[in-house]
Amino acid sequence: MAVTRSAFFVASIVALHATVAGAQARRPRTPPRKPGDLTVDVNVGAQVTGDDVTQQFSVAKNAEPASIGVKQPFSAGMFIDAGVTVRARRRLGFAIGVSVLPRERDAAIAASVPHPVFFNLPRAVNGTTRLSQSQTAVHLDAAYLAPPRGRLALTLLGGVSIVHIEQALVTDINVSDPYPFDAPTLASAVTTTASTTPIGFNVGLDATWRRWRRAGLGALIRYSRASTTLSAGVAGATNVVAGGLQTGVGVRFDF
């Protein structure tokens, strides 16, 4: 279900790109396009930095609060990115990009579970569970197109990022607690998927080497950040920071 929603979101953004690009194309004062006036780029890469997703909440177990901590540490993940950069005036332009970052990672659970017989005798329960997370971001940027050096063109990007986040969160744990209740273990985690679409920012640098007349190879480095709060129902709210440092390589097409 989460995949379907992400796909729909991407399709909508791509359609928006097309509309924007079309509007630019119809401007009457637009001179004949030169390489770099309208560039479509497609990248694949890795997000190499980011924030952990952490939860800390309590649920009632054995007639006492059981505290549950969840930490899904950041780890590098593959992303795909597509965008359009349009020169508007001399060295300035704007760009729209879409990046999709689907991930599924182990989250560490550290819980303190009350004893079924005695008060104030919590036992530690540790384990891991697999949690999925996807970030689909639309980056609306101003662009500075630096003067080309031979075939190499650099573009500085900066603007807002609209990030749709879908994050699986833990709402409870199931504990195996055999008699005599001395060695409880994590049996499973109960999860829910929460989503929201915060607005953040991004800055980036695109390097394009125009190997061919209307096409080239490029590299992108971008840092983006958007923070929000996700609700996990009974498990409360969790702060989530999307984005991070992304590096990718891809192809460039000039129109």
């Binding site: 054995n62 007639a63 004893h115 079924p116 017989v117 005695f118 008060f119 008699y179 005599p180």
Partner: protein, 670 residues
């Protein structure tokens, strides 16, 4: 003229001579270990032969939970296909052979085993003798060794309006040989609990929650009779419980403190057994634990009979044959208000050590099955072990101290508020001190035993030895010092005594046999000759218990307080205990002394007078079977002195007509 002795008229049971038994028949207390290897091998062969001849029949065989590869077997002795009560034996084995044998073997019995009346007749007679209705299975035809010899007898259980009664009938004459309550009681008081929060293990049922613990391997069910004594007795008598019998809460927030304490403490006790000893519940097979609360209403106490008050208000008891499927049930009394008892008496489930005490009776019933007859050393041991493991349960969970909800060596401390308070209607506390038994009027030495009296009284000889083995100290009577293992190592002594109870002791164990069994258990679990064995041995020495080879006598005096004629202000309890030989008592001489120790005079009882007075723990007789006791309650004075002392000396002969003389210590009358 100083008149020093008056023999009060007391009930005489049975006849004055050995009945139907060969004069040479006698019980043999068996306690052989690898310390006497040749004896052990010889007895092992003898046991195997008796098993082969079906004179010994295997009752149970259990793996040792504490010592790897050890096995414990229990055998019952039969004579011509009829079980001999108290004739049983335990055998501990290891891969390299037998380690120990404990028990009582009866030899040279010659008894006509044809009863004079049939079982159906016996059932009727038992019900009549009890004044109630027969419950449980049909009466069992057994051979019952008593102090005067061997009896062919029927044993059965009946219920009256207020209690279960254990009845033993002579299968020849129809005479009642023994009749006593089947409830193993604990006296105490209390009302309400101490406001301490507890977790209650319950089960959702029909939109509510019931006190049915399915968390643990053994199901624990707490019933609420809602003050309906008739229903409580029906449950005890084995009626099938209906859902409304089980204590319940609509929202799982339990406000009935009596139910909470009973239910929770029973679970704690189960956990104590498992964590300390690796034992699975009362019978080591996760036997269901059934508890009855609210048998009566507190508001009805002033209108209740003395029997009901003594059983269902100011009492707690375990009945091993009660409840569903006759697998045992515990009842906790309701307590009493200060306006009635003179001090607030809490419900009897309010004290963890009392709950542990009653449930330990369940362990005992499923293991050593120590003689249910209260007026025996086994009966005293039964109560002593219950105190030991009741108190040990409290020490397992609670910090030590003298306040409420703190563990101490004062059994039943939390039954009253303030803890251990004197209860005016009892003219004393409801507690027993196992650290200083004299402080609660109980004996700290074997020479102070009173086998014809309350078994709880004699129990402190055992429990005080247990205390000394842990904490060390000096026994106040013998002045012997004990080097205990220290409270940090209390688990060692608990394991030793628990092993003796559950694996080594036979059903009619004596203090002497318990001494040997606990020493053997020390060797099984810890280094032979080490600190634990030394502490246990010194503790038994300090309380005056040695191996029972020669006869001994004990005396205990207390103010008569109206139970004797006014001219005789003292009650003198006497116990004579045979060693390895049968005895015929020819005379009993009393020597009286004034407070300064000056002899006043002497008086002698003849065999017929001995027989008519020694009826407190068996049939009146001048014959005393080996390993048996005979007991008397006498009224005495030391006129013209107001206080003094008395010594009783028994003149007897063994079966070889060799003279045997033994005396009590000087018994103080003051």
């Amino acid at each position: 003229m100083t008149r020093t002795l008056s023999v009060c008229a007391l009930v005489v049971l049975g006849t004055l001579s050995a009945r139907g038994a060969d004069a040479q028949a006698r019980p043999l207390a068996l306690a052989v270990t690898r310390a006497a290897l040749s004896d052990l091998r010889a007895w092992d062969v003898q046991v195997d032969r008796m098993v082969s001849d079906r004179d010994l029949r295997l009752r149970s065989s259990d793996r040792d939970p504490l010592v790897p590869a050890r096995q414990h077997q229990r055998f019952d002795q039969f004579y011509r296909g009829i079980r001999i009560v108290g004739g049983d034996l335990t055998r501990q084995t290891a891969p390299d052979g037998t380690v120990s044998l404990f028990g009582t073997i009866h030899s040279a019995i010659s008894l006509d085993t044809a009863p004079a009346y049939a079982i159906a007749d016996a059932a009727q007679r038992i019900a009549e003798a009890a004044g109630g209705m027969l419950v449980g299975s049909d009466p069992e035809l057994v051979i019952l060794p008593l102090s005067d010899g061997y009896h062919l007898a029927y044993i059965g259980n009946a219920f009256t309006d207020t209690e279960g009664v254990h009845v033993v009938l002579d299968a020849k004459s129809g005479a009642v040989l023994q009749k006593y309550s089947a409830f193993q009681n604990e006296v105490g008081t209390g009302t309400g609990t101490y406001g301490d929060p507890k977790k209650v293990s319950s089960t959702a049922s029909g939109g509510a929650f019931v006190a049915d613990d399915k968390l643990r391997p053994a199901e624990i069910t707490t019933y609420d009779a809602h003050g309906n004594l008739t229903r409580a007795i029906q449950l005890l008598a084995g009626a099938t419980p209906v859902p409304s019998d089980v204590a319940s809460s609509t929202n799982n927030t339990w406000s009935d403190t009596t139910v909470v304490d009973a239910h929770v403490y029973a679970g704690w006790y189960y956990d104590y057994l498992f964590k300390r000893f690796g034992r699975h519940g009362l019978d080591n097979r996760d036997l269901r634990m059934a508890i009855v609360t609210h048998s009566v209403r507190l508001a009805d106490i002033a209108r209740s009979s003395t029997a009901v008050i003594g059983t269902y208000y100011l009492n707690a008891f375990f009945c091993s044959t009660c409840g569903p499927n006759s697998r045992g049930e515990v009842v906790f009394g309701e307590g009493a208000p200060a306006s009635f008892a003179g001090v607030d008496v809490k419900p009897f489930s309010a004290a963890l050590d009392v709950v542990g005490h009653e449930l330990t009776h369940g362990v005992t019933a499923a293991s050593a099955n120590l003689n249910g007859f209260p007026f025996s050393e086994a009966g005293a041991l039964n109560e002593g072990f219950s105190d030991i493991f009741g108190i040990s349960t409290a020490f397992f969970y609670e910090a030590s101290g003298n306040g409420q909800l703190q563990a101490s060596y004062l059994q039943g401390k939390d039954l009253t508020s303030p803890p251990g308070a004197v209860v005016p209607i009892f003219r004393g506390p409801l507690t027993r001190s196992i650290s200083n038994p004299a402080s609660t009027g109980d004996p700290d030495h074997y020479t102070l035993r009173n086998i014809g009296g309350d078994p709880h009284f004699n129990s402190t000889i055992l429990s005080h030895a247990f205390y000394l083995a842990i904490e060390g100290g000096v026994n106040r009577t013998s002045r012997l010092a004990v080097q205990g293992v220290g409270s940090a190592n209390r688990d060692q002594i608990e394991k030793v005594f628990f092993r003796a109870l559950t694996a080594l002791l036979p059903s009619n164990a004596t203090f002497a046999l318990t001494r040997v069994a606990t020493i053997q258990a020390s060797r099984d679990l810890y280094a032979a000759g080490g600190a634990v064995e030394r502490a246990v041995t010194q503790a038994w020495d300090a309380v005056g218990v040695q191996e029972r080879t020669a006869p001994t006598a004990a005396g205990f005096a207390s103010p008569a307080a109206g139970s004797c004629p006014a001219a005789f202000p003292w009650t003198l309890w006497l116990t004579a205990s045979a060693g390895t030989s049968n005895l015929t008592l020819n005379a009993l001489q009393f020597d009286y002394f004034d407070g300064g120790g000056t002899a006043l005079n002497s008086e002698t009882l003849l065999p017929t007078q001995i027989a008519s007075n020694f009826t407190q723990c068996g049939p009146g007789s001048s014959r005393l079977l080996a390993q048996s006791d005979m007991c008397a309650r006498l009224c005495v004075n030391v006129e013209p002195a107001t206080s003094g002392s008395v010594t009783a000396t028994f003149f007897a002969a063994d079966d070889g007509n060799r003279p045997v003389t033994f005396s009590t210590p000087n018994v103080l009358l003051r």
